[in-house]
Symmetry: C2
Subunit: 325 residues, 2 copies
């Protein structure tokens, strides 16, 4: 059985063997910079583990693993420009270090390089199908990012649309990573469906947990003061679910607190937390997380291979869900 460690090591070797040494250097050096910032390489591991469900060797899936990792980093580069983020993983963001034109153009070339790696997967007869899944995912990620930006402008933000947004922005790539890995191994359509669904639900559960921890997380364990999302008026599952459950007075109070920047942050966090407590939002969120997590596991269970082969994916999904990485 393939372990997460095996996958990460195989991917690290592949990455090291495929550095971008081409000319012009001003185009490709920023690509190496962002790829070298590291990260946990979760998505390539998902590609290789899904491939490993149906195959005993990892090599054929490595170009697909590279494709999803480059795509993920492309999306970080362009999102960081749109979000005006100066820092990523403790280092300057790409556009902060190399300038806006480099941020745009090196991002563009990464999107194309990702597609190019995907076409290196053998057999060539699968290429069309791989590219179709990849493009569909890539479009979904753009749509998710647009919805996310729309929500910041307060456009049409409802709980169902929010769940759609996190499915597109986070779930689509996790689902496609699994699907692409399995496709390279020649998996059946029903297994592809279940792996894609497993990934998408897992992505949603992961994002809900992100929302949960920001407000209810143990500050000692997660290293930050709770309530950052509240301070920044971020539309999260918590706020949107509270808006659904609130009575008129609670709704008015919530809209007021979450509609403006308040000078006293602690007072604001405490007031919104009171509303959350009255509406049992902690339990509501935990229930939703668990539900998506269980749905995800149901799809993994339905994949037609041995339980033993699924251990790596199960372990990775638990690591993701428990932030244990």
């Amino acid at each position: 059985m393939l372990t997460i460690k095996d996958c990460q090591m195989a991917f690290a070797d592949y990455l090291a063997a495929h550095r971008f040494t081409q000319e012009p250097r001003n185009l490709y050096e920023p690509v190496n910079y962002i790829m070298d910032l590291g990260g946990k390489r979760i998505r390539p591991a998902l590609v290789l583990l899904a491939h490993g469900l149906f195959s005993d060797v990892s090599e054929p899936a490595l170009p697909a693993a590279m494709a999803v990792e480059i795509f993920h980093n492309f999306s970080l580069v362009h999102d960081d420009i749109m979000d005006e983020a100066p820092v990523r993983r403790g280092k300057p963001t790409l556009h902060e270090k190399y300038g806006l034109p480099a941020g745009i153009l090196s991002g563009d070339v990464m999107l194309i390089l990702a597609g190019q790696f995907l076409t290196r997967c053998e057999p060539a007869s699968h290429t069309g199908a791989l590219v179709r899944v990849f493009n569909e995912m890539a479009i979904e990620v753009c749509e998710g990012q647009q919805l996310d930006m729309d929500f910041e402008q307060d456009l049409n933000c409802t709980l169902p649309l929010y769940l759609k947004m996190i499915e597109l922005k986070t779930g689509a790539l996790i689902g496609a990573s699994l699907e692409l890995g399995a496709m390279v191994a020649g998996a059946e359509a029903s297994d592809l469906f279940h792996l894609r669904s497993f990934g998408r639900k897992l992505g949603i559960a992961f994002q809900l947990q992100d929302d949960y921890l920001d407000t209810f997380g143990d500050p000692e364990k997660f290293g930050k003061k709770p309530g950052g999302d509240i301070v920044r008026n971020k539309k999260t599952f918590l706020v949107l679910r509270a808006a659904e459950l609130a009575n008129a007075a609670q709704k008015t109070a919530l809209d007021q607190w979450m509609g403006s920047i308040h000078p006293n942050e602690s007072e604001k966090v405490a007031a919104v937390m009171d509303i959350f407590t009255a509406l049992d939002i902690q339990e509501e969120t935990r229930r939703a997380m668990t539900q998506y997590h269980e749905e995800a596991l149901g799809h993994l269970k339905a994949v037609q291979t041995t339980d033993h082969k699924k251990e790596g994916l199960l372990e990775l999904s638990e690591m993701l869900f428990n932030r244990d990485f």
Copy 2:
């Protein structure tokens, strides 16, 4: 025989039938905006004309025509951000109208949509090969744009690198348009090579003519005062060829004039033109243009089909070269 008019009409119909009506609107409305700005649809016409060399129907090549036109517009959108251009075809550029994040994200989705249209070409067994040619071209266009930006910073700008830059930035897409169209029709490798080479050389000739007209063009015919490139210190074929041919004194004078912004524009243009005249740069440029143009036509001639079928492409290449559109 397929005429240019036939191609433009067929493409206009296809474009009208494939408007981007999806959600979220803030992502796709800017795509319609830029696609509706018009332009001469030269590249889709090249796809269809190249397809027409080997086939009597146009329909199968329409998704490829759409792919190259969307790609071309994607590159305009992102280039306009990098160049801080406020106006395109007499209208606000996309980022000027919708903001920087929309410029980046709607550009990104166009790059993916272009690839997606390409995968719609039948038969599906060709998809992998089409995608490979498309990705290689797309990377070349990014590399060309990077070299262009490097040259503005005065990095390593020599005549051979300048010719490489315009081949990548302009020639690659023209060459790939022809190649993709012919591929959809199942053309032989040698014909693909000659069509690609025809397009690349034509693209270089076209860009050299652009340089030529900016300085030596008839102001009445081209509607602008000559010498704009000189005023802006732009590295063009003219300046780079002059730098190759200049003696020490001429080289020093050229570097001085072209290395700073001069308060008296007419004086600067006249001084640089004097150097150009002394070095016979007008004739040098005309010779280079003619050489690339003739090389291009040599490749078209080598394509294995009837002369009659080549008439549309010949006509389009003359229109391009004579700016008669």
